[in-house]
């Protein structure tokens, strides 16, 4: 996995108050980690600050797990796999 993917895992883990290795790639934030809409906004905000990008709020519903977050952020940050 790329460095960015692991960075995103750390950001998500910090907001959800878990260890990075507890966040599975496709683990649903709400169902598995008890996240809510405010957690999602905190995650989005930290990603925006970290990578100096802007992600529209309409993308939030898709950002349900780490892999989906990576997909969305890649698009806005211009990451190539």
């Amino acid at each position: 996995m790329s460095r960015q993917f692991e960075e995103l895992r750390e950001i998500v883990a910090e907001v959800l108050e878990l260890e990075p290795d507890e966040i599975a790639e496709t683990g649903d934030f709400v169902e598995q980690y008890d996240a809510d809409s405010m957690r999602a906004i905190e995650i989005l905000s930290r990603i925006e600050k970290r990578y100096k990008i802007e992600i529209p709020q309409r993308e939030l519903p898709q950002m349900q797990n780490l892999a989906a977050v990576y997909t969305v952020v890649s698009r806005y940050a211009g990451w190539q796999d």
Binding site: V30, D36, A40, I41, E42, L44, E48
Partner: protein, 197 residues
């Protein structure tokens, strides 16, 4: 600088829940410094028995948080006032992450809140900052998230009898959904007790 009358005009709160007295400096989108003078005649000290120890008159931490939050609200309102936004939005404190009390504040102290705007995500604002009395640190907060939600949504759900904490209850709607979802009104004042000791 904003005086009390201007603060009253900006905040939706009324007496005695307006917990700010003066704004010393305000840079929209960046930072606000605002003060609140604590006095022994405030409602939180009424009906206390006589002969209490000094510590019993420590200003209540929830009011410290509220006062800080009101400073954040003014910063936010002054930041977004030139932007299009929901006219009937109700401001709510949604998340407080890692609020730490370094020392108690007492009647006679003037709280000085220094609030920095971290980010705005849709109808939500994220701030960080600290509260001081003179040069002494009273409290710090890693991040505080406030949300604006349409009054109509809150009233509709309130009328259905939903309570904060119920699934589908007020006040937060999951992004992209008209209703339902989990509620995020929570205060996480972790470490507060241990810091206060």
């Amino acid at each position: 600088m904003l005086e009390y009358a201007e603060i009253l005009a900006l905040l939706p709160h009324g007496h005695p829940m307006v917990l700010l007295d003066r704004v010393l400096s305000l840079e929209p989108g960046v930072c606000i410094i605002a003060t609140k003078a604590i006095t022994g005649s405030e409602p939180c000290y009424c009906n206390l028995p006589r002969g209490l120890a000094t510590e019993r008159y420590a200003y209540p931490v929830p009011l410290l948080v509220e006062s800080f939050g009101q400073a954040a609200a003014i910063l936010w309102l002054e930041t977004v006032k030139s932007r299009p936004h929901r006219e009937d939005g109700v401001l709510m404190l949604a998340v407080v992450r890692n609020y730490q009390v370094a020392r108690n504040a007492y009647p006679g102290d003037v709280l000085r809140h220094i609030v920095h705007l971290d980010n705005i995500v849709g109808d939500n604002v994220i701030v960080t900052g600290e509260t001081r009395v003179g040069d002494k640190l009273v409290a710090t907060v890693d991040s505080m998230v406030a949300a604006a939600r349409p009054r109509s949504v809150i009233l509709e759900r309130g009328n259905r009898g939903a309570k904060v904490g119920d699934p589908g209850g007020p006040p937060v709607v999951r992004p992209g959904q008209a209703s339902g979802g989990s509620v995020a009104t929570r205060i996480e004042a972790r470490n507060r007790e241990e810091m206060a000791e």
